[in-house]
Amino acid sequence: MLTFAIRRLVLSVPTLLFISFAIFMLLQLAPGDPMAQVPLTVPPEVKERMRQALGLGEPPLVQYGKWLVQMFWIEPQVLWDHWFGTNYSEGKLRVISWQTRSPVMDIVIQRMPQTLWVVGLSYIVGILIALPIGIYSAYRQYSVFDQAGTFVTMIGFSIPPFFTGPLLIVIFSVQLGWFPSIYDTTLVVDSWADFKSQLQQMIMPVMVLALQTTAQISRYMRASMLDNLNQDYVRTARAKGLSEAVVVMVHVLRNSMIPVVTVIALGVPAIFGGAIITENVFKVNGIGQLLITALFANDLPMVMTLTFIFAFLIVMFNLIADILYGVLDPRIRYD
């Protein structure tokens, strides 16, 4: 198992390098210009100067090389310095965003809390709702509950968040005035009142996102339960005189969770990637919003770094899912 993990880890290095190169070239090819947001009153020569100042004049390969060095050599040094109070990174140029002229990683770290809170919590809520629905629908296959659950989860799957989001805002913010329509990212929770307002502002984005998660995970759960409910070992468990609760919730569930847990693990990178539309609708200003504004502002270093982080997480969680599979299922051995 350990060799397997290490091997895959080492193999993922060239993969990631290749991915980063591919993303970089793609972004190079992309049209658009960081100067697009500069008003038309600014004359072209000035814009050209500004471009030069951003390092846009250099050939793409040189830019890529610089990015690699900054991302994999200087940024870790910064992290090291931050933890241990050393100063290796002093005076070295980090990955700088074109929009804000500040280190990309700082902004990413700044955005992490709200993204994790909202998107992460919605993932957890979604899973917590999905699992019981999936289990019960499978146990009572074709019952009214199953049919209704299927219907509702499919509706949840099919309604885009840019529709549910504003709908919730109109109902709960404008009409009822229960929840704020604009998320306050500066809120620090240190009292019950703050906690309450935190809850209030999270509830709508979390529910919108959880709807999607619920829909998908409950489908997986149901299918996996159905697979296992017909297995021989279930009959054996019943023949031992175990109660239905134990048979289903211990024997069947434990087996059914194996594929579902890996599916859940594969969904985790999306949490860090944020939820572009939902964040935008509720002004959560997390990673998703960061990516979309960077994209529209053609802030290449930011887009590049974010997509790369995302790619990194995907590759890692692919690996984690594989390892989890092996851990959860004693039959699987990697050697």
Binding site: M35, A36, V46, L93
Partner: protein
């Protein structure tokens, strides 16, 4: 009394990403920064110049501007302090000019300093700017939100190539304005508090500011007018009915003001046909097959009902116009003939000049050439509505239109490699809005000089978007540059404006676009200003007790 009114919340649906206007040309950044750092003088809502850090606005009359128009001398108010308590001196002003004029800095406001030869400190409170040639409008540097004064002590090490590594300075500039930054989260939130060293001890009335960015205009308007979560929302580019509906929310109200921003259709005088080899497409080498015909351009303009466009797209935030320079009054031509739609007239005009529908497909043609246009603009709901309406009218006069909308980051991006930029103009007509800084249209009108068109040899840079070329126009421009007397300047500018619009229909102005913002009913002191930052007088804002 300072700080007595608690907190004010402002929402900008485009989030500020930096507090240094010299490193970003974006309006959102300039306006956010304007609460913290200030120029020597500003424009007020009428376009008049008012002193801020200067004692008075220098003019030829008061001797501040030299007779030969080559230098301007600013007197700074006495006793000004930076928010860190250090005194404000002319050295800071000189430094600011150096900072922006550094060739490696990539200063976004460099155009403000064009023609500047030297900036020197005469004494601690006097600065003299010398231009290399007579400059009738010497209010480029240190005037308006684009050109505020930076503190020398803070930015000393940030000149040139080092500009972008000064994150701390760019996010938290020390200023003389009513507020200072306590926390800056790029593209998200800025928290500010009142500047204890602000020159007026009574102001600002608010102790803190919560400046939120992000989302869309719709949500921003809703947050001010419907849910009352915010006090001020910037630039609500929304359809009039949407805005009206929001106002019914009763928590706030929209305010509008007009500047020089004109939504216009530009006619391509060159041939954008994709059949031409790359490098010759849309260049002066190939005149446009039919848009060079004045009657066609005129007919296209006549077919448009500008009032309806305003009603559909802007409501109280728009005025139909026939002028490229709609304000200030001194420079605005009184041309109104285009305001009435005349479909029949347009048809007759086309008929007259030989454009008839010979093959009965509803599209006029002549010499085997069809009146078929590609009409491009950037992606934006109102613009798309305009496209649809105009396409409809043009089809009524027998002109076929293909619509195209391009993502605005590409359209305005100026990437010479992209075929979709407004400069390349790979379309027959295109629509966008433009304006000029300050109140003087000289440089704005100079854009349409012969040879200033985007072309391959200039990397497709250039401002003469429709490739207009008229020696008479150029001669008139030169005359304008030599003239200092205001009345005379106004006359020449009007004549130039008419040459582009009603005489040649090279530019077909549609709507004079105002600015709509909204403030809550409890926020007082808002004076919407389109000539400068909207937040120019934020120091005077206060809470209305209810």
């Amino acid at each position: 009394e300072r700080g007595s009114d608690g907190n004010v919340s402002i929402i900008y649906w485009q989030a500020p990403s930096i507090m240094n206007p010299y490193l970003s040309g974006g309006t959102k950044d300039i306006e956010a920064a304007s609460m913290v750092i200030e120029p020597l003088g500003r424009y007020d809502p009428t376009g008049a110049l008012v002193p801020f850090l200067a004692e008075e606005i220098p003019t030829v009359e008061n001797g501040g501007v030299s007779e030969d128009l080559t230098s301007i001398t600013w007197k700074i108010k006495e006793g000004l302090l930076w928010s860190d308590g250090t005194p404000f001196t002319s050295a800071d002003v000189v430094f600011t000019a150096e900072y922006c004029m550094d060739p490696e800095g990539g200063c976004a406001q460099l155009a403000k300093y064009s023609g500047v030869e030297t900036v020197e400190a005469i004494d601690d409170l006097t600065v003299k700017v010398t231009f290399s040639q007579p400059t009738p409008n010497p209010y480029g540097p240190f005037m308006g939100g684009q050109s505020p004064i930076l503190q020398k002590a803070q930015f000393e090490n940030c000149k040139g190539a080092a500009a972008s590594s000064c994150t701390e300075q760019n996010f938290n500039p020390i200023g003389t304005g009513p507020f200072m930054v306590t926390e800056f989260r790029p593209n998200d939130v800025i928290s500010m508090e009142a500047n204890p060293n602000y020159r007026d001890p009574e102001k600002p009335a608010f102790a803190t500011v919560n400046f939120k960015g992000g989302g869309d205009a719709n949500a921003a308007g809703r947050a001010v007018m419907e849910t009352g979560e915010f006090d001020y929302a910037w630039n609500l580019q929304l359809a009039p009915d949407v805005l009206a509906k929001m106002e019914e929310g009763g928590m706030g109200q929209p305010v509008a003001a007009f500047g020089t921003l004109v939504e216009r259709i530009e006619m391509n005088m060159t041939d954008p046909s994709p059949d031409l080899p790359e490098g010759e497409r849309a260049t002066v080498a190939h005149p446009h097959p039919f848009l060079t015909d004045l009657n066609v351009r005129k007919a296209l303009s006549m077919a448009i009902d500008r009032e309806l466009l305003v009603e559909v797209g802007y409501g109280q935030a728009g005025r139909a116009t026939c002028n490229l320079v709609p304000a200030p009054a001194l420079y605005a031509s009184d041309n109104t003939e285009c305001l009435t739609q005349d479909i029949e007239g347009a048809k007759a005009l086309l008929e007259e000049s030989g454009w008839t529908d010979t093959d009965g497909d509803g599209v006029r043609d002549k010499d085997g050439m069809k009146l078929s246009l590609v009409y491009q603009t950037s992606t934006n709901a109102v613009r798309q509505d305009f496209q649809a309406l105009i396409k409809d009218w043009w089809s009524q006069i027998g002109v076929e239109t293909e619509l195209r909308n391009v993502d605005s980051s590409v359209f305005f991006g100026g990437d010479p490699g992209s075929p979709d930029t407004f400069q390349k103009f790979y379309a027959d007509v295109e629509m966008y809005a433009n304006n000029f800084d300050g109140t003087d249209p000289q440089s704005y009108l100079s854009m349409y000089r012969c040879g200033n068109e985007p072309k391959p040899s200039s990397q497709w840079q250039g401002e003469n978007i429709n490739r207009f070329c008229d020696p008479e126009y150029d001669a008139l421009l030169d005359e304008l540059a030599r003239t200092g007397e205001l009345e005379e300047r106004g006359r020449i500018a009007k004549q130039l404006n008419d040459m582009l619009t009603k005489d040649t229909y090279t530019i077909v102005p549609l709507v004079d676009r105002g600015r709509v913002s909204a403030h809550s009913n409890t926020l007082g002191g808002v004076q919407l200003n389109t000539w400068d930052s909207e937040l120019w007088n934020v120091a005077d804002w206060y809470r209305i007790e209810q």
